[in-house]
């Protein structure tokens, strides 16, 4: 047998097998490590262990998360901030809420403050596994993802060596970064009269092409989102909380363009129809109807400037207090 034959028939396969075995063993040792790669991981763990008795749960995407992460929404110990971002999308909101409720927490109100895009845009596939698939692995979660997300892959069967980053790197780094078992609590109380930043001097905050792209995007609520909203309704009935949908601030040019095309109204109506058919009382409100937010990042989605962020935080707090006082109109009564 030549040296190369020996290499291909014995040495290389043996080395591949050995490395695979070592990685598999190490991965098995690290399997119990709670992942803390990002805030979705942190939340997925915290919702099951947090001991505070929050009466309101705040869900939403990064527009709300950026604000709630920095500024307290509601009074002290009033609002559990379970906001994430679009890469984690509405499945993360549903799973976090479900875990939270099934851990014995009983909020009276659940507020979902996510941009319209979260309801109508497909989720970003390259990030789906990182922020959803590899985070939510309880039986219900896996089953839900398998049923409603065609791109979902359960990688559980693969040898650990094929995903060394996930099986070794991330658990090891998670051992270093230990954020604790509590839901994140924003460090600052928003000022009641924040200084609102002016427009920057450059024109970078407004990008016509970005507006056009967003206006052209479809405005049909996706089937998987409908399934998630049905689950919300079901949870609302089972655990007795009231559900509130809030449209976060939106860039004025984009808002005007969307209003003109009727897409804003259409999305609201589609959601209303889902809640109605599931016999769930839900309020749907648009914060921009109350106050204008002109200062945005270039993506036209995220609010820019600490003053504007505080304004949104205050507005959310005001809304929540209105719900609790029972002043808010429930759009679709049983």
């Amino acid at each position: 047998m030549s040296e190369w034959s020996r290499f291909f028939l014995i040495r290389l396969p043996l080395a591949v097998f050995t490395v695979g075995l070592v990685v598999q063993g190490t991965a098995a040792l690290l399997a119990g490590v709670t992942l803390h790669r990002h805030n979705v991981d942190d939340l997925a763990n915290a919702v099951m262990h947090d001991g505070h008795r929050y009466s309101v749960v705040l869900l939403g995407d990064s527009v709300t998360h950026n604000v709630a992460h920095e500024y307290r929404i509601g009074d002290v110990d009033e609002v559990a901030d379970l906001t994430t971002h679009a890469f984690a999308g509405l499945p993360s909101s549903l799973f976090l809420l479900k875990r939270y409720l099934e851990s014995g927490h009983r909020p009276q109100h659940v507020v979902l403050a996510a941009s319209r895009g979260v309801y109508v845009d497909p989720m970003y596939k390259p990030m789906f596994n990182y922020y959803v698939g590899s985070v939510f692995k309880l039986p219900f979660e896996r089953e839900f993802l398998r049923t409603h997300y065609s791109g979902y892959m359960n990688y559980g069967w693969r040898p650990a060596a094929l995903s060394m980053t996930t099986n070794l790197g991330e658990p090891l780094l998670s051992l270093i970064r230990r954020p604790g078992n509590d839901i994140w609590r924003a460090p600052e109380t928003p000022s009641l009269n924040p200084t609102l930043e002016g427009f920057p001097n450059d024109v970078s905050t407004y990008d016509q092409e970005a507006v056009n792209n967003r206006v052209k995007a479809p405005a049909v609520v996706r089937p998987e989102v409908k399934a998630i909203l049905r689950e919300f309704c079901e949870l609302s009935h089972r655990y007795g909380f009231s559900l509130h949908i809030i449209w976060p601030p939106i860039e004025p040019h984009l808002q005007a363009a969307w209003k003109l095309t009727g897409k804003m109204q259409s999305i609201t109506e589609q959601l209303a129809e889902i809640f109605k058919s599931n016999q769930t009382a839900v309020s749907i409100d648009d914060v921009v109807d109350q106050q204008e937010y002109p200062n945005f990042d270039r993506d036209l989605i995220h609010i820019r400037g600490r003053g504007w962020e505080q304004r949104y935080a205050n507005q959310l707090t005001a809304y929540i207090h209105e719900f609790k006082k029972g002043k808010q109109q429930m759009a679709f009564a049983n």
Partner: protein, 494 residues
């Protein structure tokens, strides 16, 4: 079909390897050549049958030209043949660029249909031009048609090089026709080199791609740090992508018993622009040196000798003009756009400074300084190379060299206050974990790019040892794990 495509790796490659060696063993070398031709045609036609017909037509026309040139060695006929090839290339690759600029100059309006550039057209067109030139110079004979077609179409080098000279392949093909492989015992080293190349592409280049692409989405809004990370990240991505591809090509060649020229020799270790271009895309540099620079420089030297020109004028005629023209052509070869032309120009100017420094007998710079200056120049050229317009490139370069202020992202306000820097909004680095991930990749990959030699340079020194197996095993696992999400090779567009 991409080399990273699972269909290629797990079906096309093993099947064609087995059938090729069976054909050689049980039929004949000529039969094996025909088999490789069919396999290469399938490889190319898998992407587009229409353009396979175009490629075959181009090859046949060139073969006819070669036969005539072999008989007459007429310079006129050579120019006609080169003209036909360049026209074809121009039509498919530069048509819109030409019309756009003509429209700007004259105000005429043209209907610009979307361009669909045949895969690898720049590579195989240049390869055939070199062959025609060599035949016209009497340096190469005309081989039988199947060998000529395989010289152009041999699938490992068909779509992104290396740009092979006929003198490198001709003897190997003739030998195969007699059923002898000149590098017949190279399957092992070839497989190893292929795996290294695949690892570079899938695990290194594609990992960087996500970050680099995000950075280049915001060319007009990058902060100082983002702009530098964009430039360095892209340089590394391009290197691992293209050198990975070239390693794979060499490895594949060896698996079939052919030795292809290598394309990279740790270019980021270069301490001068001249050295850099001797190490980066070596077969392209060789093409431009042999078939563009040298004839021009030779002609210029004749003029200089006849007219007794000396000093700066001699430098301008014999070195500066050929260098700049060659690099402008090289820039244009890379793509139909002003960014590519400026990419060539900046490289040309860099080389001129290099030559002038040497001609003026200036003191030799310390190695680190020379390396640093070379790398800065390279990064500038690659910003042009990657940007979609000159305005974008200039915006990034402005952020790199004239940033106004150097600040840190908002999330780093603790560090900023310690080092006395302001904080500001960062478009790309707005999240700490994204930034940390990016920085870690660059810190990990940059030394690999600078220090690791290219395995394709000396494939036969690869030994089938336990160490090789232990190095390859984790690489194979990692590569297989990432293989599901490969991106296209950057150099396919050229």
């Amino acid at each position: 079909m991409l080399f990273t495509d699972p269909v290629f790796i797990f079906a096309f490659l093993p099947i064609s390897l087995v059938l090729f060696h069976l054909a050689r063993r049980y039929r004949s070398g000529k039969f094996a050549i025909w088999f490789l031709l069919v396999a290469s045609a399938f490889f190319y036609g898998y992407w587009s049958v229409k353009y396979l017909a175009l490629l075959l037509s181009q090859i046949l026309i060139n073969y006819l030209f070669a036969q005539q040139l072999g008989r007459s060695q007429s310079k006129r006929l050579l120019w006609l043949a080169i003209g036909v090839n360049l026209l074809l290339l121009g039509y498919f690759k530069y048509r819109n660029f030409f019309l756009e600029n003509l429209s700007i100059l004259t105000g005429w309006q043209f209907h610009l249909a979307a361009l669909f550039v045949p895969l690898g057209i720049s590579f195989h067109t240049f390869q055939q031009i070199t062959y025609l030139t060599d035949v016209a110079d009497g340096e190469e004979d005309v081989p039988p048609l199947p060998q000529y077609i395989l010289f152009v179409m041999f699938f490992p080098q068909l779509i992104a090089g290396p740009i092979v000279l006929h003198r490198e392949m001709g003897r190997q093909l003739a030998s195969l026709a007699e059923n002898r492989l000149l590098h017949g015992n190279s399957f092992g080293p070839g497989f190893t080199v292929f795996c290294f190349g695949l690892f570079k592409k899938v695990c290194l280049a594609d990992n960087l791609a996500n970050f680099v692409d995000t950075t280049f989405q915001w060319p007009l809004h990058l902060q100082f740090l983002e702009a530098w990370f964009a430039a360095v990240g892209y340089a590394l991505q391009l290197y691992f992508d293209f050198s990975g591809y070239s390693d794979m090509a060499v490895g594949l060649g060896l698996m079939f018993g052919f030795l292809l020229p290598f394309n990279f020799n740790t270019p980021f270790a270069a301490t001068s622009m001249t050295e850099y271009w001797k190490r980066w895309h070596i077969t392209m540099t060789r093409f431009f040196t042999m078939y563009c620079y040298s004839p021009m420089a030779l002609a210029a030297h004749r003029v200089v000798d006849q007219r007794n020109i000396t000093g700066v004028r001699m430098f301008a005629l014999c070195i500066a003009a050929p260098t700049v023209i060659t690099f402008l052509a090289s820039g244009l070869w890379h793509g139909a756009g002003w960014t590519f032309i400026v990419f060539g120009l900046v490289n040309g100017v860099g080389l001129l400074i290099n030559h002038a420094w040497r001609e003026a007998k200036m003191p030799r710079l310390p190695g680190v300084v020379a390396w640093f200056l070379t790398m800065i120049t390279i990064l500038v050229t690659l910003v042009y190379f990657r940007s979609e317009s000159l305005a974008q490139a200039h915006a990034i370069l402005k952020s790199m060299f004239l940033p106004g202020q150097i600040a840190l992202p908002l999330w780093a306000d603790g560090i900023a206050s310690r080092v006395g820097l302001p904080v500001t909004f960062f478009e790309v680095f707005q999240a700490a974990n994204f930034t940390a991930h990016y920085v870690c990749l660059l810190l990990l990959f940059a030394p690999l790019a600078i220090l690791l030699p290219n395995p394709a340079m000396q494939p036969n020194i690869v030994r089938p040892s336990v160490t090789t197996a232990l190095v390859m095993a984790p690489m194979l696992w990692l590569t297989l794990g990432w293989l599901g999400e490969p991106r296209t090779f950057l150099y396919f567009q050229f």
